[in-house]
């Protein structure tokens, strides 16, 4: 089973490397968005504004990155996967792939934010950790949303409609948690409690995805 997941993962990565135009498309999307922010914002905005802007950009980057993960699979190819793998293996491979991709994108956008909008965080290492955690949890939720939306007809808009209310609690927790990296003093242990809560939600999302995806899968 692990071997087949690895094979599926490899196929996704290979596909990404071959179709480089989509990858560069997202990269350009990130760069353009952050550049627009850079032009429209005053130099080095305050930490709260920086923080909220960053997470909103993350959200939109994720919608664009993850959205295509199920849309790019044509009907015929889905049928092919259906015949060779089990749904659980397929969704696990997708979740891992999207998490890796989103972490990469989070890293890039963080780098761009630091260079263009300054670095207001007092604890950069911790903030990078929070960003990686946040990027992976957002991508997990949107992977399942994209799987659901792929079943409907007008899917691109549907992902945003379905995903935003579900992602809101996680996003609020993330924004709160990232204040820890901006020098706000928390209660003893509160940071780990928040991080644990987000990780717990991630586990919940993965479990639900594994349980529910087989029902979406059969056609």
């Amino acid at each position: 089973m692990l071997k087949r997941i690895a094979t599926l993962l490899k196929k996704d990565i290979l596909l990404e490397l071959r179709q480089q135009h989509t990858f560069y498309g997202i990269l350009l999307y990130i760069a353009a968005t952050i550049f627009v922010l850079y032009l429209s914002m005053p130099d080095s905005p305050d930490a709260p504004i920086w923080n909220s802007l960053f997470w909103v950009i993350q959200l939109f980057v994720c919608v664009n990155t993850v959205a295509k993960s199920f849309l790019q699979e044509s009907r015929g190819r889905m049928l092919y996967f259906y015949s060779i793998t089990s749904p659980v293996e397929f969704i696990v491979a997708k979740l891992i792939f999207n998490t890796i991709l989103m972490m990469l994108m989070s890293g890039i956008s963080l780098l761009l934010f630091f260079t263009l909008l300054g670095n207001p965080s007092t604890d950069t290492v911790r903030f990078i950790g929070i960003v990686l955690l946040g990027g992976s949890s957002i991508s997990l939720v949107f992977t399942l949303m994209s799987a659901i939306a792929a079943k409907a007809q007008q899917n691109a808009a549907l992902i945003a409609i379905l995903g935003f209310p579900v992602i809101l609690p996680i996003l609020l927790l993330l924004m709160r948690l990232s204040k820890a990296a901006f020098g706000e003093v928390f209660k003893e242990g509160a940071v780990w409690q928040l991080a644990g809560l987000i990780a717990g939600l991630d586990v919940l999302v993965i479990a639900l995805a594994v349980i529910l995806f087989p029902f979406l899968w059969k056609e």
């Binding site: 939720v141 399942l144 659901i148 079943k151 409907a152 007809q153 007008q154 549907l158 409609i161 379905l162 935003f164 209310p165 579900v166 809101l168 609690p169 609020l172 927790l173 709160r176 409690q193 809560l197 939600l201 919940l204 999302v205 639900l208 529910l212 029902f215 979406l216 056609e219």
Partner: protein
Amino acid sequence: MGGFLLEVPRLPILNETIRNLYFHVCMWMAMMIMFIVSFIYSIKYLGNTSHRNDIYAKSYAVMGTVFGVLGYATGAVWANYTWVTDQSQSLGSILKEPKLIGAAIAILIYGAYFVLRGSFTDMDKRARVSAVYNIFAFAMLFPSIWIIPRMVGSLHPGAPGSDSGNPALSYNDIDSSLRQVFYPAIIGWTLLGVWIATLKIRIELMRDRELLK
């Protein structure tokens, strides 16, 4: 069952705004009960794909959303008289309160659920995909309503820092005369919701009678 609706506001109550306890708190409870029922029927649908379960899940979700909107409205009225103390504080600043965010998320999620249902033409596919979304959304909603507000400061009772535990349920923050009406009111609102939902279900079942055979 409609008698509950008429009976409740007429009973003698101590304070003027506490009257809202019978409406606001009970509506939230009724909403949660409706959503839980809808959630259970969604699971049942995935277990055995009967069209009946899908109709049940949908109707209870509709009723839950109605109660959610009503609860939001009554809460807004209540907050206007109790929380807005000085003139400079607007309702907008109160809306960022954690429980209100949770409530808004709940309404948005079920709005998205209905949009999702609307976007399908194939009946079986619609039922299956929306059942999946319903289960997923409910599982994500649960922590956002019940856990997160308890962890951060809130104007609602039940937040850390205040000495009350479960708002309006614990023994010492609710007067016994209030309780006389409060518990029947929860049951009453819930039964009212169940009644309307079953009416809707029966209409739909009649409409789709040929399909179900």
